[in-house]
């Protein structure tokens, strides 16, 4: 048994933490969040130069990491600094699907992704799909040697900045069937593809995406026709581990800010951290945070398992992270008092980030149900 990071991952963590600590200050981040693009192209490029995108892909995919522990190492640091740039969407989800399923020609884009020159997004969720991965109503029809796509996609994170969308569409079956799903690479600006963009509560941007008689060639198909559900599930598992690690990092920051505040804020003539009512809650927060760290490690360590074990561990992590995340976000705000309600103060963004992460790829309740389901297979 060994809970130490490998020296490579330790180096990755140090590099990223140092860079973000220097460069991604609260002021810089607040400026990025308020900007029209909702992200910084400059910081994205610099992070890509540091190898952060490459760390999210395996060697044969053109990277130098890509395993569960690489993902959590990177995302914990991104979370710690409250980074809003779309690593999850470009690299873990859309990029990951291209890496897992793409032909050699399709995988050419990954070199530019790893180099920080190209961004991607995954257009999967739909207005009524909530967190059900298999609920896809968007259709794909073969037509004159090409494919026609029709449907609507909701809250597609990073859609505007993506040079291509990976679109999930149904070729056969009923809306909730796992079978019959296919993936297509749709370049941005393809006729019939329209985006309505907006900022997100936790930072970054997303869009409602409409596909109206969008025509793509057969070569745009990513992976086998009608049979990509298991690949999607594997990628979403990885993304959920990434989200859990990100939340963990953000919770570490919330804890650090709260500890510092309890030590310096004086009321009734003494630091408020000397009040036992707050001390015990801080202690509980600390205990839950260690639970969260263990849940992330446990899930990362089971990413290569067979489906049932992998999914069960991932859902366990996302459920626990959702519960602890709410506790940490709410208690950090409460123990700070009014100052935490101010957008300027660092905790505001961190708390929003933590809570809103629960709304991506399945919330606490959704993963509770999945955990139960996979416990009885």
């Amino acid at each position: 048994m060994n809970f130490e990071l490998t020296s490579e991952r330790q180096m990755l963590q140090d590099t990223l933490r140092r860079y973000l600590g220097d460069r991604y200050t609260t002021e810089v981040r607040n400026r990025i969040i308020e900007s029209d693009a909702g992200m910084s192209a400059e910081i994205w490029r610099e992070l890509a130069d540091l190898g952060i995108v490459a760390a999210l892909f395996t060697e044969d995919q053109g990277g130098f990491g890509g395993l569960g522990f690489d993902i959590v190492t990177v995302f914990e640091e991104l979370g710690r600094a409250g980074v809003v740039e779309p690593f999850l969407d470009t690299a873990v989800l859309a990029g990951g699907l291209v890496a897992d399923l793409g032909s050699e020609a399709q995988r050419a884009v990954l070199e530019r992704v790893v180099g920080g020159e190209a961004q991607l997004a995954w257009a999967h969720g739909e207005p009524t799909s909530r967190y059900d991965l298999s609920h896809v109503e968007t259709t794909a029809r073969s037509l004159d040697g090409g494919i026609e796509l029709n449907g609507r996609k909701s809250v597609v994170v990073n859609a505007e900045a993506a040079e291509a969308l990976v679109v999930t569409a149904r070729e056969s079956g009923e809306p909730d069937d796992p079978e019959g799903l296919s993936l297509f690479l749709v370049p941005g600006g393809t006729p019939g593809l329209s985006l309505r963009g907006y900022p997100l509560m936790g930072g970054a941007r997303a869009a409602e995406v409409t596909l109206e008689t969008v025509h793509v060639p057969e070569a745009a198909r990513l992976g086998p026709a009608g049979d990509v559900y298991s690949a999607i599930e594997r990628r979403v598992a990885m993304a959920n581990v990434a989200l859990s690690a990100e939340a963990l990092g953000a919770m570490e920051t919330a804890k650090a800010l709260t500890v510092a505040y309890l030590g310096t804020r004086k009321q009734f003539g003494r630091p408020i951290g000397t009040f036992q009512a707050l001390q015990h809650r801080m202690a509980d927060l600390m205990i839950e945070l260690e639970q969260a760290r263990s849940a992330v490690i446990l899930a990362a360590g089971h990413m290569a398992d067979e489906r049932c074990s992998r999914e069960r561990h991932v859902s366990a992590a996302k459920n626990l992270i959702g519960r602890v995340g709410r506790l940490v976000a709410e208690e950090s705000i409460q123990m700070h008092g009014g100052i935490a309600m101010s957008q300027e103060y660092e905790l505001a963004h961190i708390a929003k980030r933590i809570v809103m992460l629960d709304h991506r790829l399945g919330d606490t309740d959704h993963h509770m149900e999945r955990f139960i389901a996979f416990s009885h297979v």
Partner: protein, 397 residues
């Protein structure tokens, strides 16, 4: 023991309901139901409508132009207003300053200020909190120094709700720095249009700008704006806390919020079924509803005693804690209920643009409301301070 309304209470409830159904503009109730913010004019219009009916100041005695309701009648009115999604009555002039003036103001102050509160001639805000004086309010530092027939005021207030609309602020200021913390404080009415007053908005984490910092630099305040006696302000401030807290539990807001949540949960689907039938969600919903039913009854028990003339003491603190926890729980469930559509941050959803909403029309404001209402357990004496009050009373240590 009889839990139902008496015939008189029932008749009053019907009267309130009829008034709301005839006079509450749909334009306003739609905005409240959707969780959208109201403009200064919206608030003023609603206050004016209630004032015409004589219902704006429910708790004020009739001699001051109030409705003279007892605690039960006030409760019925507040509950019916919340269920009809009426705008809340802003408390600053009506529930906070008015009763203090009635109890401690000079005849001239009562004659001048009280009618102006009712007519809306003045928009009041509250100047209590300071950067260094939150839960420990008595540590406030804003100074008022007597200078002839004026006080010279210097200092800073913060978290001043809707101060951007206000022309008047009632403040706790320190007039005797040598006295014990609570004993050197005075209650002062300050004209916000006077030279030296500066208001700066604080942008909140949900994107709203409803609170402000207020700075005083050598602001001259006429001595006739001192309420009661110099250095007795703490007594007046505390009077507020014990006498004007019937709605502290926010039962009406919780009931209305729960109805809205159920409405959303019937429309949202999870696993091919309405979310409201999802066992996990249904269990969460049931738990908060059970808590709310019991809390509403506690609230009635306290109100019933208050109507008989007993001032609520520690009960106010209990209701504040439980009431805010329940409201926040409902906000949390509402955020969960809309799923991924809680993520978009569309400020137009709050401001009311003509753009169609992103996702279902109810989804836009729910995450913002969840974050905004973290304030419930912080303001008005944080829940920690309330628990301290409860424990002190209970333990007598």
């Amino acid at each position: 023991m009889d839990l139902s309304d008496t015939p008189e209470e029932l008749a009053f409830r019907e009267e309130v309901r009829a008034f709301l159904s005839a006079h509450l503009p749909a334009r306003l109730s739609d905005r409240v139901r959707a969780g959208k913010s109201l403009s200064k004019e919206d608030h003023e219009a609603w206050h004016a409508m209630l004032n015409t009916k004589g219902w704006l100041a429910g708790s004020w005695p009739k001699e001051y132009g109030g409705a003279g309701w007892n605690a039960v009648e006030r409760h019925i009115f507040e509950e019916e207003c919340a269920l009809a999604y009426a705008p809340r009555i802003l408390p600053f002039g009506l529930a906070m300053l008015g009763p203090v003036l009635q109890a401690f103001g000079s005849p001239a102050q009562k004659d001048y200020w009280l009618p102006r509160i009712l007519s809306g001639a003045d928009w009041w805000c509250q100047g209590y909190s300071e950067p260094g004086a939150g839960s420990d309010l008595a540590s406030l530092k804003t100074r008022a120094v007597r200078d002839g027939d004026h006080y010279l005021v210097n200092g800073q207030k913060t978290w001043t709700t809707l101060g951007q609309h206000a022309n008047m602020i009632f403040c706790l200021v320190r007039t005797d720095p040598a006295a014990k913390a609570q004993e050197g404080i005075s209650f002062l009415l300050i004209d916000m249009t006077a030279p030296g007053v500066e208001v700066r908005p604080i942008l909140l984490l949900d994107g709203t700008a409803e609170v402000n910092e207020v700075w005083f630099t050598d602001v001259r305040v006429p001595v006739e704006n001192l309420v009661g006696e110099e250095n007795k302000g703490w007594t007046y401030a505390k009077y507020l806390l014990t006498h004007e807290r019937t709605n502290i539990a926010g039962v009406g807001f919780s009931i209305a919020g729960l109805e809205r949540l159920k409405h959303i949960a019937r429309i949202e689907r999870s696993g091919g079924r309405p979310l409201i039938e999802n066992p996990h969600f249904a269990a969460r919903l049931a738990k908060v509803e059970i808590d709310l039913m019991a809390m509403a009854t506690t609230n009635l028990r306290v109100i019933s005693r208050a109507a008989e003339g007993q001032a609520p003491g520690v009960e106010s603190s209990m209701l504040k804690v439980k009431g805010t926890v329940i409201r926040q729980e409902i906000n949390d469930l509402t955020r969960r209920a809309v799923g991924p559509y809680a993520m978009p941050f569309v400020s137009e959803a709050l401001e009311g643009a003509n753009e169609p909403p992103v996702g279902p029309d109810y989804a836009g404001p729910v995450a913002a409301q969840y974050f905004n209402n973290r304030k419930l357990s912080i303001y008005g004496g944080s829940n920690e301070v309330q628990r301290q009050i409860i424990a002190k009373t209970l333990l007598e240590l």
